[in-house]
Symmetry: C2
Subunit: 364 residues, 2 copies
């Protein structure tokens, strides 16, 4: 059961930092109906790792990564909006990326995939809109990496959307976030199973990927939440759960292990490296010299910038600065700082707080 559809990218698809793809495709899903004026499209970009399956549908009833936010009567109301979510190019859930076959030689791209930029993901979303006959989206939207892609979209494609919702994102990666992601990538490339990217599908660098994902998971939440949720409770022994030598004896370790298990079995290590590095490299100010100049020609009517006070990876000051730059660029901007305690991942789990501002922004 799969609701995934595919759009062909222009051939060649010239990558932002050089190189090009041939015969590339983007996987996407949609919810709701495009209205007759093609004016009700909401284009949703994902964070680093999710697929295009943001919510369940008749075609695929399994819960999506933003299940409680998107659907009939939800904050992103599919009775009103035609919602499109794309799997990022560079990822491994149907879109062309390092784990795809290069049609030029029939081999997997692996490290022969060109350098990925968030600008390429934004452009892939733009091309999917074109494929669907949509000149202008009502709203582009995204959390985390998706928020950076969304701001890149408005900088690259003036007037291609009327509004933007950027959640827990930033105009550029901070040195702390770069440090943490660099360490994650180092754990992968230093796993001997990585083999300079030439690993077999049945023996991926799972050890490095597991360490990378655990570190991600550790920083996607907050110390306060974990204190309340786990404290110093004992390790939960569950069937099949791994425990390496010198592992901790506490519940937090079982949590990290459980969170990581599924991820390492579905996510391709090379794709992770490409996407992670693309986040580090992103800097909206590279478009026309400053964030404000990048945004000025956007033709945006309104912007909603949301952040969370407990986010250690994309601290709230980054969303505040982004909102100030939107305003300075002449765009009517709402800035919302939520008191969620779940850190960067709050948009996934504290949906009750995210629902009202997103609902009211889209409704207005």
């Amino acid at each position: 059961v799969n609701a995934r559809r595919f759009a062909r990218l222009p051939d060649p698809f010239r990558m932002w930092r050089g190189g090009e793809l041939h015969g590339a495709q983007i996987a996407y899903e949609t919810w709701g109906e495009l209205d007759s004026r093609r004016s009700n499209a909401v284009l949703l970009f994902t964070g680093l790792s999710p697929p295009a399956h943001a919510a369940s549908s008749a075609a695929d009833p399994s819960p999506g990564w933003w299940e409680n936010m998107l659907g009939a009567g939800r904050a992103i109301d599919t009775a009103r909006w035609f919602v499109i979510c794309i799997n990022s190019p560079g990822s491994c859930f149907g879109s062309t990326g390092p784990a795809s076959v290069n049609p030029a030689d029939g081999q997997l791209y692996r490290l022969r995939f060109p350098e990925l930029a968030l600008e390429d993901i934004a452009r892939a979303g733009y091309e999917v809109l074109r494929t669907l006959g949509i000149e202008r989206a009502d709203t582009v939207m995204g959390p985390s990496l998706g928020a950076m892609v969304a701001v890149s979209f408005v900088a690259q494609f003036p007037r291609a959307t009327r509004r933007i919702v950027a959640i827990s994102g930033s105009a550029a990666a901070s040195p702390f976030a770069i440090a943490l992601r660099s360490i994650q990538r180092e754990a992968i490339v230093c796993d001997p199973a990585w083999r300079n990217g030439e690993y077999d599908a049945d023996s991926p660098p799972i050890t490095g990927l597991r360490i990378a994902r655990k570190l991600g998971t550790a920083t996607y939440r907050s110390a306060i939440e974990w204190r309340e949720r786990f404290g110093r409770r004992a390790f939960l022994e569950t069937p099949g759960i791994r425990k390496v030598p010198f592992a901790s004896d506490y519940a937090i370790q079982s949590y990290l292990e459980a969170q990581t298990r599924r991820f390492v079995s579905v996510f391709d290590a090379n794709c992770y490296l490409y996407l992670s590095r693309a986040m580090d490299l992103f800097d909206l100010a590279q478009h026309r010299g400053s964030v404000r100049a990048a945004l000025e020609p956007s033709g945006l009517e309104r912007a909603l910038i949301i952040g969370v006070e407990s986010d250690m990876l994309f601290p709230i000051l980054e969303q505040r600065a982004l909102a100030d730059d939107f305003e300075a660029a002449g765009i009517s901007t709402a800035f919302v700082a939520l008191p969620s305690i779940q850190g960067h991942d709050s948009f996934l789990v504290d949906v009750a707080r995210f629902d009202p501002p997103i609902r009211s922004f889209l409704t207005a």
Copy 2:
């Protein structure tokens, strides 16, 4: 040139969590003179990784890890105090640990070293005092792991010190700190070169240790400091600096690499695993059922608890809670929250802020 001296531990030395050591020794250094009443001793415990060389001296003029805090006229004034700093048992700078030879079989202990507890480190400090003929210290003191050891000391040895200074520590490790340390240890034990602890001295698990240390370094400071200090400045190419595939292009990465280089060449991986895990396991409330009960028989006259607002690893609320428990245990307690931006490591680098409260506490 080395100012290190050695004290024999009682034989056998029974470890807190079981097992015992024979012929074990503790490396320590001293500064200043013990007065005739043997009443001016300050016992200093270190953080996870430093040696006993806290400051320079005539015998070893190289700068120590707390050089600007300790010396004649410094906040810890060696013209007045007889300062003793010990290398923790379990470490690898002269004290007995996993990298030492087990006299029972002439082999390195490696993983046959008994489980280490912070209580063992506290007791080693206590035994060094006895060796020097000191019944009661004026002050026990320590930052980070050393602060946890210091509170363990007062719980285990009532009336063995008159005062305590606990800096950027906690009564027990939080789940967030446990998570980060667990990931560090996993990086080491998953390095094939670790060989279940049986690596050769000339081929240690340097890759895992490097990832562990980088993650430590990333969390010992703060996002705010790095934003100001590094921003998105470019990677600094310096002779001999490594750059792995998918490394970041930014100055923060050169910094992490430079910080890590020296560490991995001097610190033993098994010792790191033991000390790191001992921090996770520590919980002062295990002494007599609660932190307050642990402290009540201490005979302490005064306590100084210091923390830093930007510390993500040992957040300020942990020092505040510790100070409240000291006060509740009937001990006259000063709590100082410093606005340093350098995070957990502020005590090493923002000495100008730490100097006044420590100086005035010791002088009073």
